[in-house]
């Protein structure tokens, strides 16, 4: 897919502009190539989106084509956490802990309306976190309720593009701003 065909190139340019170092660029390129082509998701699903994530991993849509072959159950070995579904207040600390326990580099995809903003449970609900970004930093938002598997794949392509822009420096800055002090 060409660059113009993607949504939201502006944010990407913004990220690109910050912190490019010519000396490290090639190294970064190699590292990013590895990272972007082998994103292992954490098996983490709460609601309907989880089923669509499973469908994305199954034969018809086949996540594995993008190198997301291995669903790791342990956060230590996973690279990307796809928050598929609602996060409630009781679950939030668990999610935070899971995210903390993942090893660097780690990425977050908020999949579906619930994860982005509370979705169907935005109004009148007493226990739903209105958007997972209140808990952990999110890299890519995939709207839909639930998003089609293709939409998730598209989100993953977006994430790959995001990884391409990252350098050692910018990752460092990102981590520092999100770690517990």
């Amino acid at each position: 897919m060409k660059r113009e065909e993607f949504e939201d190139n502006e944010s990407l340019d913004l990220l690109n502009a910050s912190g490019t170092n010519i000396l490290l660029t090639t190294i970064d390129d190699v590292i990013n190539w590895g990272r972007k082509n082998s994103l292992w998701p954490l098996t983490f699903a709460t609601r309907c989106c989880g089923i669509e994530m499973m469908a994305a991993g199954a034969a018809r849509h086949d996540f594995a084509r993008f190198g997301m072959e291995v669903y790791r159950a342990s956060p230590r070995q996973a690279d990307v956490i796809v928050v598929a579904g609602t996060i409630v207040h009781k679950m939030a600390p668990v999610l935070k802990r899971l995210y903390d326990e993942m090893s660097e580099p780690k990425y977050v995809v908020a999949m579906g309306a619930c994860a982005i903003s509370g979705g169907p449970f935005f109004l009148n609900s007493y226990s739903v976190v209105k958007g997972v970004e209140h808990v952990i930093p999110v890299d890519v938002y995939v709207p839909g309720c639930p998003p089609r598997p293709e939409a998730l794949l598209y989100g993953m392509l977006q994430l790959q593009r995001l990884i391409e822009t990252q350098t050692i420096k910018s990752r460092k800055a990102r981590n520092e701003s999100h770690d517990y002090k």
Binding site: L42, T43, F44, A45, T46, R47, C48, G50, I51, E52, M54, A55, A58, A59, R60, Y71, A73, P75, G85, T86, V88, K90, M91, V94, L98, P120, F121, L123, N124, S125, Y126, S127, V128, C145, P146, R148
Partner: protein, 374 residues
């Protein structure tokens, strides 16, 4: 004194508690099981739920009846259509609306398709729980075909939002009948393959026979319904006992098994897939003509009173209990979700088996956690 210390620390007293979930591949969502082990044997299981409790019952009190549909979709999202049907039937019953046959038949077909895809997904996940990777791919492959039918008619893959009080959102797509027939023909060929792959497999037999026995008395007492209850011999099929929609005009068997173990639950679901296909085949050619929705008032108000409607979802008996005070919002809505009761039986049937069996039992109960937590 020293002896005393030693005695209190004998391993008999020490509980070895292992935590499964909320993030755990075999709990299908965010169920958390606290399993006390002795060796690898499960001494007791304590389900901890509420990790996805989103307060649907409270939310229902401040939205209108048509809007409830979009929440019931997200309770048991695998059989979303049947959940919606329960609410719609309840509202229609309260308003004493006469529903044309066409709507009834379409609803029934859609419900059965939902049941089929739910059982396919269950088969896929159950296979994966037991370690058979390919089951996952085959089950989801066939499920995609049903999802395509859904998507063509309703515009959504899982969350259909197809029912509304008084009928359906849209008419069925012109291709609907053709595609359903094609699918049934295809799936009648494929289903024996499932049997070859898993049902007849000696490893699977070893893993499932005699595991997690549930007697009929316990099933009734725990309120275990659906295929899980019927595998224990508890005749609880709402479609048979209190027919709704078009179930009174089709011939089908209520699947009953008596063993009550994991294998019986498995076979009950496989048999139910066959029955679902039978039901669809009886109806698909006889969809009567007529409108796809009854004209309803723009703002639906239920007369004061209490209404209860039960339907048979893929997992068991779903009850919708509405207390209305005459306003456009319900006063109180209670969903009696099948999974909630089915979960409560877990400790009872899983104690004494091994931790691997716990996974198999949990898989055979086919739990959908958001339906439990609501």
């Amino acid at each position: 004194m020293q002896e005393k210390e030693i005695i209190t620390s004998t391993d008999e007293q020490q509980e070895y508690v292992i935590n499964m979930g909320p993030q755990h591949p075999s709990t299908h969502g965010v169920l958390r099981l606290l399993v006390s082990l002795k060796g690898e044997k499960v001494k007791s299981v304590q389900p901890h739920i509420g990790y996805i409790h989103s307060g649907i019952e409270k939310m229902c009190e401040s939205i209108t009846y048509p809007q409830i549909i979009h929440l019931t979709d997200r309770m048991d999202y695998i059989s979303a259509h049947i959940n919606n049907e329960a609410v719609c039937l309840n509202v229609e019953k309260a308003l004493e609306v006469d529903i044309p046959d066409r709507i009834k038949v379409i609803r029934t077909i859609m419900s059965e398709l939902t049941r089929l895809q739910s059982h396919q997904l269950w088969w896929a996940c159950f296979g994966m729980d037991l370690g058979g990777l390919t089951c996952f791919f085959y089950g989801l492959r066939d499920r995609e075909k049903i999802l395509d039918i859904f998507e063509e008619t309703c515009g959504g893959r899982m969350i259909l939002s197809y029912n509304c009080p008084g009928g359906l959102m849209y008419d069925i797509h012109p291709n609907f009948q053709k595609r359903v027939k094609e699918f049934i023909k295809y799936f009648r060929k494929i289903l024996p393959e499932y049997d070859q792959l898993l049902t007849g497999n000696v490893i699977f037999h070893e893993r499932s026979k005699g595991i997690g026995k549930l007697t009929k008395e316990d099933a009734i007492s725990f309120g275990v319904t659906g295929p899980t209850g019927r595998a224990s011999g508890f005749s609880c099929d709402v479609r048979k006992h209190e027919p709704y929609s078009a179930y009174d005009r089709v011939q089908f068997k209520e699947i009953l098994h008596t063993e009550g173990d994991t294998f019986a639950r498995y076979v009950a679901r496989i048999d139910e897939m066959w029955e679902s296909m039978n039901i669809i085949e009886q109806l698909i050619d006889n969809i009567p003509e007529g409108p796809f929705a009854v004209k309803m008032k723009p703002i639906i108000k239920l007369p004061e009173g209490e209404y209860y409607q039960r339907v048979e979802t893929a997992r068991g008996e779903l009850g919708v209990y509405i207390i209305s005070d005459g306003n456009k919002n319900p006063y109180r809505v209670k969903f009696r979700s099948p999974n909630f009761s089915n979960l409560s039986v877990l400790n009872h049937i899983a104690s004494g088996f091994k931790i691997a069996d716990l996974v198999a039992i949990g898989g055979s109960l086919d739990l959908i956690i958001p339906d439990i937590d609501r």
